[in-house]
């Protein structure tokens, strides 16, 4: 993305004069309809839930309380930790981590392979990898669900070929969710790694071979450390959206794989709604995302200083 410090133009009297009109729509739209709502959401997480859904404007920590603590049925017992929601978060983190690992395992060799093709064909390979991404995520997830269903084509094919005798129960498992997340975000892993490998100088690999390293040692000792920023970028770009994903867990995971996205969605269905709680969960998710980004940024700058 074209960032600050780019191609600056003719001096005053050019676009600088109408700077404000140019930027006002952007500030207005994103400021009013994104930034403000997020801040409002933060406020809502500290309000009281209204009986019919919606909120009462009264400060309360009830939402966060409900998330972290279990006050028992009668409220006069000492509060214990409420594990239900924390478990949901833990599960989401685990699933996101699993999806990231899957993307890395398959995405790294793919990115390496494409980056080492002759320059003329690289574009085509990249195009092939990204085309499925541009298909509606809902449709992609539905397609995957259709494919791996108990009486779906995958099981039919495997049984037809004789590899298995009974249909595999893939749907509604962890694997299904991770497959769904993998399917949703794979290009986000491949593209940064591809960019990093493209910048990598193969003279390093030759030097390592010249000094008696076999190709796998070279991969581990030389390539990976040099390409690491791309790998980290890819992991972040897969992990964070996976945390808050809704469709993959919802359509592929079933009741047992309840994740953050579903938890939040549930709070806003009219009859069962608990808006402050939903807002609170969203805030906690945002905090988690910010922590991950912060840690990664710190690690990146620390590496540069070295």
């Amino acid at each position: 993305m074209a960032g600050p410090g780019s191609n600056h133009a003719p001096g005053p009297g050019s676009w600088r004069g109408i700077l404000v009109p140019l930027l006002l729509p952007t500030w207005a739209m994103i400021g009013i309809f994104l930034l403000l709502p997020v801040l409002l959401m933060a406020v809502y997480s500290f309000l009281t839930k209204e009986f019919r859904g919606g909120v009462e404007w009264e400060f309360s920590l009830a939402a966060y309380d409900q998330f972290f603590l279990n006050r028992g049925l009668f409220g006069d017992e000492p509060p214990t930790v409420e594990w239900t929601y924390i478990t949901v978060f833990a599960r989401s983190i685990a699933q996101a981590a699993g999806a990231t690992a899957l993307c890395l395992l398959i995405g790294f060799p793919t990115a390496w392979f494409i980056a080492t093709r002759p320059a003329s064909s690289r574009g085509i390979w990249l195009f092939l990898i990204t085309v499925p991404y541009w298909v509606n995520l809902l449709i992609r997830t539905v397609s995957l669900r259709f494919l791996i269903r108990e009486n779906g084509p995958l099981n039919d094919a495997l049984m037809g070929v004789g590899l298995i005798s009974e249909p595999l129960q893939i749907i509604n498992t962890n694997l299904a969710v991770q497959l769904g997340l993998f399917y949703s975000y794979l290009p986000f892993m491949v593209l940064p790694i591809y960019a990093a490998v493209e910048r990598y100088s193969f003279a390093y690999s030759e030097a390592a071979a010249d000094l008696y390293a076999n190709r796998w040692v070279t991969l581990r000792e030389i390539v990976l450390p040099i390409v690491r920023p791309g790998i980290v970028a890819g992991c972040i770009l897969v992990f964070i959206p996976s945390l808050g994903a809704f469709l993959a867990p919802n359509l592929l995971g079933g009741a047992k794989n309840f994740m953050i996205g579903s938890l939040i969605e549930e709070q806003f269905k009219k009859s069962l709604g608990n808006w402050p709680f939903g807002a609170a969960v969203s805030m906690i998710l945002m905090t988690l995302v910010l922590i991950v980004l912060f840690v990664q940024a710190r690690a990146a700058t620390r590496q540069e200083v070295r």
């Binding site: 390592a208 000094l211 008696y212 390293a213 030389i222």
Partner: protein
């Protein structure tokens, strides 16, 4: 003593393009051998074939008698100093130098000791824990050298290692490299396009062009006795005069120069017919009569020398170098002069 490297009829083809046409040469042990030629002549391809990064389409490559053409590069006891050094950016200098030893499974203590020794040898001990990015170009080059020498290779390959350095540094490094080769006794195979480098550093030089070896010899042999027009022209400056060989007898040929003069020169297997004569500009003197008659066009002042640009009677251009000293008279433009060619200075070329 077995030759360090023997290349027999090496051919390299990429599709329908041939980069090397049946190259054969031998490189002796403890020799500083240079592959010299313009870009595209195949010298780097040949070097990479010895290192193991290019397949040998046809032919053999023997290292101390053993055919290594099918060996993986990490199984050949040959190490390379790469053109842009390829120092691993994420490892410290000393870890870079120790890398080959680590791959050879040398114990950590022995590794560190050897790496430290190598750094000492290139005078970079103080930089052991720095990262390559923190070093200057000249320093990086020396680290690359230390790294390649640490595993005690039988042969060291150097791919234009000085081309990225500025002039003064390059000149200093030439002396250092030569000294290093003499001290370690390891065979150095050096690739360059810079003939001054080749002439000053090498024990022997192979001049290459368009995938062929044109001539192999010491600096003196190549300079004073070039075998063909390419070598005569590529190394130093020369006058190429088209001549007709009239007769050849007892290793001497009688040739006719443009303008009709006849000259007796040493023959080296050429037959009668049209050839070229190579005469170095500093091997002619002005004289009363002389072998050739010419008219002076211009005299160019070059500090140490004067370059006299002249024309033979039939218009063939010629130039001489006269040392700038009181003993040598400077001709004025337009005067007729006689040129004497030093005995043996006129070389009859194969083409």
């Amino acid at each position: 003593m077995t030759d360090a490297v023997e290349i027999r009829n090496a051919v390299k083809r990429y599709g329908n393009v041939t980069a090397l046409h049946g190259v054969s040469l031998t490189i002796r042990d403890n020799e500083f051998f240079t592959l010299l030629g313009p870009s595209g002549c195949g010298k780097t391809t040949l070097l990479r074939m010895i290192a193991g990064f290019e397949d040998v389409t046809e032919g053999e490559i023997r290292l101390f008698g053993q055919n290594i053409a099918n060996l993986e590069p990490n199984h050949r006891p040959v190490n390379t100093v790469f053109q842009h050094y390829a120092l691993f950016p994420h490892m410290s200098v000393i870890d870079n130098v120790a890398f080959g030893l680590k791959m050879q499974k040398v114990a950590q203590d022995a590794r560190r000791k050897r790496a430290a020794e190598m750094l000492e040898m290139v005078h970079l001990s103080a930089f052991a824990d720095r990262l390559p990015a923190q070093l200057s170009g000249g320093q990086q080059q020396r680290v690359a050298l230390a790294r390649a020498l640490a595993p005690s290779p039988k042969v060291l390959l150097l791919d234009e290692p000085l081309s990225a350095l500025d002039l003064k540094l390059r000149q200093a490094m030439r002396v250092e490299l030569k000294q290093l080769q003499e001290d370690t006794g390891i065979t150095f195979i050096f690739v360059t396009h810079d003939q001054e480098e080749a002439l000053t550093m090498s024990d022997r030089i192979a001049v290459m062009s368009a995938g062929h070896v044109q001539q192999i010899g010491t600096a003196q042999e190549i300079y004073e006795a070039p075998v063909n027009r390419f070598v005569a022209d590529f190394i130093g400056e020369t006058n190429l005069l088209p001549v007709e060989v009239l007769s050849v007898r007892d290793g001497r040929a009688e040739v006719t120069l443009p303008g009709g003069h006849r000259l007796q020169v040493a023959a080296a297997g050429q037959g009668i017919g049209k050839h070229h004569l190579s005469i170095r500009p500093e091997r002619m003197a002005l004289t009363e009569a002389g072998d050739l008659q010419a008219v002076v066009d211009r005299v160019v002042y070059l500090g140490t020398d004067r370059q006299v640009i002249a024309r033979l009677e039939d218009g063939t251009p010629l130039h001489l170098r006269l040392q700038n000293s009181d003993r040598v008279a400077v001709p004025a433009p337009g005067t007729r002069v006689g040129l004497a060619v030093e005995a043996g200075a006129a070389r009859l070329l194969a083409d």
